[in-house]
Amino acid sequence: MSREATLRVYRGDRNGGEMIDYRVPVSPGMVVLDAIRSIQFHQSPDIGVRWNCKAGKCGSCGAEVNGRPRLMCMDRMDRYSPGEPIVVRPMKSFPIVKDLVNDVSWNFQVNKKIPAFKMRSDMERRFSQEEADRVQEFRKCIECFLCQNVCHVLRDHDLKPAFGGPRFLVRVAGLEMHPLDGEDRTELLRKDLGIGYCNITKCCTEVCPESIHITDNAIIPLKERLVDRFYDPLALLWRKVTGKR
């Protein structure tokens, strides 16, 4: 069963770098992260990589493997054809710190803009599992930022100041659809998070390791909410007459 694979790994920092080939012995069930750690152990102790849980639960080890954004801890080596190098690069949409480590600090800045959950004072706390299901889907997010990485608004157009990205639209959806939440984040969605930039190409949904239906279940309903709020002529008239938002 002992065979070897070649990993072609980006080594470098903000100022540039190169792809370096490493030969790594392959064992049954091995994942790409195991291969990177094997390099760290036997060949290059200083190779930079983030990981924590090694079970797809923490979202630390996102990278681009053969061009596809993936969690390295869930990416089985046996899915790649033997004989061809497995190319591992850091995520493209964020600055590189070193090797496979990206600077993802921008995401934490966006998160800070989102007003926290605020429990409605008039509510009894009870709600059904069906209501919980709807938001629990969004709360599964492990913040691997792979959706941010593939979103073309961020990846190709680098509209980071204007657009919050799918991760944070999911987060807002989880708050806005929370049965006990009393905060209103529609203005934030339109302005700070720039939801209008998303033209629902579903790239984010495709890469989500948690299989969250980001586009269908989070972004589209939020867009509809916005339309109802800001552009529905009847609602506009109603607000004018009653003075209510």
Binding site: G29, G48, N52, C53, M74, V97, F127
Partner: protein, 604 residues
């Protein structure tokens, strides 16, 4: 001194898992300028991997539950070695702490009438664990994180703390370095809270991530604080055993809580033969009775049947599995079988255990709705930790606090599943509260000792100065294997002596490791430094284990197979360090008030 970047705060919290985040929220809400320092990115701490649930006697599912029953279960699970006051505060305050999470936006699974659902777990008399499928830790950490970021806490990510700085006898701050740049940073503060989690990386097979290297345990030891109960290391009964890539990865106890059964290679449910006297009469004695319990749980009825013996405490189940394997009744890869597919419908399994389903399908090619899992014990948790005052969480060094897994006492000789997440919340909150109170009473910051800062900083660069030397990863692997072999689930005096000898050799090797590359984001260098804490922690564990000449909870001595009610039931083993010397002493357990003693009396 001026050479170092310096930050000033009232309270510095080291570690941003559940305990650290909860402490930070509390400290900052009480007006203390609060820094939260973590080795990983925010939200990636080990809490995120907690699966099964958070224990609190909400009594939503079974109204017979109360803090008193929770207290009794906790003490019984800990084989009565627990710091009783911590166990009491924990059982009482966990209820509020979980409700508070809901007020902060956590979305737990619901009962049919819309309240927080609770599930069964090992050692808990009633369904007590509030949960979100099998990703409760993620829900908790995200809730705390999102609450915390709006509180004005200064968060410092990817920063490793390496030394507690002192002004005479009290804490004056800590020294660390940025993982990204390798540059040093001094945090001046009036209080430091250690919320650094556990020590699992000292062992070969572990469910713990790279972060779990006993940082807080070692920082406290070096600062002159006491550690308590270090001999008690919990091996979770159900880690993955195959393929090698995932050996040790956790399988939640929730699988058994939802009805999963343990089988040997003859298809026999061996746990029926493994009910210790302490728990006789409380667990089902036939498969029919156990099956009835599962049916009741699955249909949401209050079970009258007794619970299956698979839900005995972790120490008991781990030892039973080890015996099956040793005696030749194990699974092909050296574990036993855990089967939920014969007990629950596929849709139920996917709903209640989604990440287990996913994990096995992706990483082991096993569909758990159809086939059993192969499982074996994995080093999961340390009951031992920094000895703290139960009311305030302050260590024996003024200004130093500890909470969560880094603190000791609460769980005694063995922790119940679900009591860790509640521990984080209850004692994280108390540590934050009392660290802030202490800080706010002081006027200025304590003085730093420039020489202390310089010498601590200089030591960190040593590994770069060696032209030749061993690879730190090799030294670490050898240490982990040795600890697994000699200080694992079952121990003997001879093996523990051997471990201490081996540690001397490993210590000498660690002092000579060499790291390549530069100082920026260099995991080889980080590991070279971490070896020092892991060796000290390993020595503390081995020494304490050698000292305790009995078997109790997670500490099993083959040469002393019985519990000793006369001597060892009444003392804790305390480890401390002065200079290079590690010392041990025994301290009597604090006297428990009679009303609590009555709660522990066997049921008539």
């Amino acid at each position: 001194m001026s050479r170092y970047e310096t930050q000033e705060h009232d309270v510095v919290i080291v570690g941003a898992g559940g305990a650290g985040l909860r402490a930070a929220i509390e400290a900052s809400s009480r007006g203390a300028r609060t820094a939260l320092v973590c080795k990983s990115l925010l939200g990636k701490a080990h809490t995120v991997m907690a699966e099964g649930g958070v224990a609190a006697a909400l009594a939503n599912v079974d109204t017979r539950d109360s803090w008193k029953v929770h207290f009794r279960d906790t003490m019984k699970g800990g084989k009565f070695l627990n710091q009783w006051r911590m166990a009491q505060l924990h059982a009482q305050q966990a209820i509020e702490r979980v409700q508070e999470l809901e007020e902060w936006g956590a979305v737990f699974d619901r009962t049919k009438d819309g309240r927080v659902l609770q599930r069964n777990f090992g050692g808990h008399t009633y369904p007590r664990l509030a949960h979100v499928g099998d990703r409760t830790g993620l829900e908790m950490i995200r809730t705390l994180q999102d609450r915390g970021v709006h509180q004005g806490i200064d968060v410092f990510m990817e920063c490793t703390i390496r030394w507690i700085l002192k002004d005479q006898e009290r804490v004056a701050g800590c020294l660390g370095f940025w993982r990204e740049s390798g540059r040093f940073v001094v945090f001046r503060s009036k209080a430091v809270v250690l919320a650094t989690g556990g020590i699992g990386r000292c062992f070969e097979i572990t469910s713990n991530s790279w972060e779990y290297k006993g940082d807080g345990h070692a920082l406290a030891l070096w600062a002159g604080a006491d550690l308590v109960d270090m001999e008690f290391v919990q091996f979770h009964p159900t880690g993955m055993v195959w393929p090698p890539s995932v050996r040790g990865t956790l399988i939640t106890e929730g699988v058994r809580g939802e009805g999963g059964v343990l089988l040997n290679n003859q298809g026999k449910r061996f746990m029926f033969e493994n009910i210790p006297d302490l728990f006789k009469g409380e667990y089902a004695e036939t498969e029919e009775e156990a099956k009835q319990w599962v049916v009741d749980v699955a249909t949401g009825r209050r079970p009258e049947a007794r619970r299956p013996p698979e839900l005995l405490t972790r120490d008991v189940v781990a030892r039973a599995i080890r015996r099956e394997v040793r005696e030749g009744r194990g699974s092909p890869h050296g574990g036993v079988f855990l089967d939920i597919s014969s007990q629950r419908r596929p849709d139920e399994i996917k709903k209640k255990l989604p990440s287990m389903y996913h994990q096995f399908r992706e990483l082991a090619d096993v569909d758990i709705t159809k086939s059993p899992m192969e499982v074996g014990p994995t080093c999961h948790y340390t009951m031992g930790g920094v000895r703290v005052d139960p009311e305030t969480q302050q260590a024996t060094v003024p200004g130093l606090f500890a909470a969560g897994e880094a603190a000791g006492g609460m769980h005694g000789a063995n922790r119940l599943g679900g009591n860790s997440l509640s521990d984080l919340l209850v004692f994280g909150k108390l540590a934050g509260e009392f660290a802030a109170a202490l800080a706010l009473e002081m006027t200025g910051l304590p003085e730093l000792n420039g020489n202390e800062v310089d010498s601590a900083a200089r030591e960190l660069l040593d590994p770069f100065d060696r032209p030749e030397g061993e690879n730190p990863y090799e030294v670490h692997e050898d240490m982990r294997k040795m600890m697994q072999k000699f200080v694992g689930i079952v121990r003997t005096g001879e093996e523990l002596e051997a471990a201490l000898e081996e540690l001397k050799i490993i210590r000498a090797r660690a002092a000579r490791v060499k790291v390549g590359g530069n100082i920026q984001f260099n995991p080889g260098w980080h590991l070279a430094l971490d070896l020092k804490n892991m060796i000290d922690v390993s020595e503390a564990i081995a020494r304490a284990a050698l000292t305790r000449q009995e078997s109790r909870g997670a500490h099993t001595r083959e040469d002393y197979p019985e519990s000793d009610p006369e001597k060892w039931a009444k003392v804790n083993v305390i480890v401390h360090k002065k200079g290079d010397e590690m010392g041990l002493r025994l301290e009597p357990l604090p006297e428990m008030p009679s009303d609590l003693k009555q709660l522990l009396a066997p049921k008539s």
